[in-house]
Amino acid sequence: MKDVTLWYEAFNRKDPALLHRILSEKWVDIPPAPGQPAGPEGAKQILVELTTAFPDLTIRIEEVLQDGNKVIVRSEIAGTQRNAFMGFPAKNRKMAIQAIDIHEFKDGKILRTWHTEDWMTGFHQLGIFEK
């Protein structure tokens, strides 16, 4: 189940094919982004949106814990905003924020992911609240 790193490598390598290797066809993202398609297609859309907004995006794994069929990953998401993100124009600022994900595995693939990222800090770093 430590194959969970494939999820993070997919973003670092900008390779959506890795998502299909690790996600179940029935994968559920909790909570989903607004308008996110169901299943692995939704993950692919997030990967494209994030790596378009932040072409130098890196997700660094800080800690991995496992308990039964669940794996928890604490990571740092970093990048420079070069294109619009969630409707906010790029100010070419860098962000580095914390994230924690819980992945539930079934038959060697991720069936459900619960997650939170510190976007509040990210929005400040990107200058989104500045006039």
Binding site: K70, I100, D118, F123
Partner: protein, 149 residues
């Protein structure tokens, strides 16, 4: 009880103690040099005590509900719901009476039978939205600043 189960029990006790507002009991649960890695937060049991007292003062019914608890080695991870009513001023924001309900993720390191370190990622964007604030420097950051003497 295995040490994994004992660690989970300690974290559950921490949540119950906060929910009951019995913050004088924190010394039985948290290490004196409790290391809080939450963005903008500093270490020490008195810092966390004043932080939690501040939350309870603004949201007297503030409640942490454990939805998932997961442990390995000396770590315990929690996904919890945070609910409460904004009854008194918070971070420079006048009381709105609004109800907040959002998720947070915690990882605790246990050492010598106490919680020694804490990492947290909470959905503060949703929290801010539920307080009805326009996007601006967050009330949460303001609140943290008021704690620094």
């Amino acid at each position: 009880m295995s040490h994994i189960e004992a660690n989970k029990a300690l974290v559950r006790r921490y949540f119950e103690t906060f929910n009951a507002g019995k913050l004088e009991k924190l010394d039985e649960i948290l290490a004196q040099d409790y290391g809080d890695r939450l963005e903008g937060q500093s270490a020490g049991i008195e810092v966390i005590r004043s932080y939690l007292e501040g939350l309870k003062a603004s949201f007297p019914d503030f409640t942490w509900t454990i939805e998932q608890i997961i442990a390995e080695g000396d770590r315990v991870a929690v996904m919890n719901r945070v609910t409460g009513t904004h009854m008194n001023d918070f971070g420079g924001m006048k009381a709105t009476g609004n109800r907040v309900d959002f998720h947070a993720f915690q990882i605790y390191r246990i050492s010598g039978g106490k919680i020694a370190d804490h990492w947290e990622v909470a959905d503060f964007a949703r929290f801010q939205e539920q307080l009805g604030a326009k996007p601006r420097p967050s009330a949460f950051k303001q609140f943290q600043k008021t704690l620094k003497h």
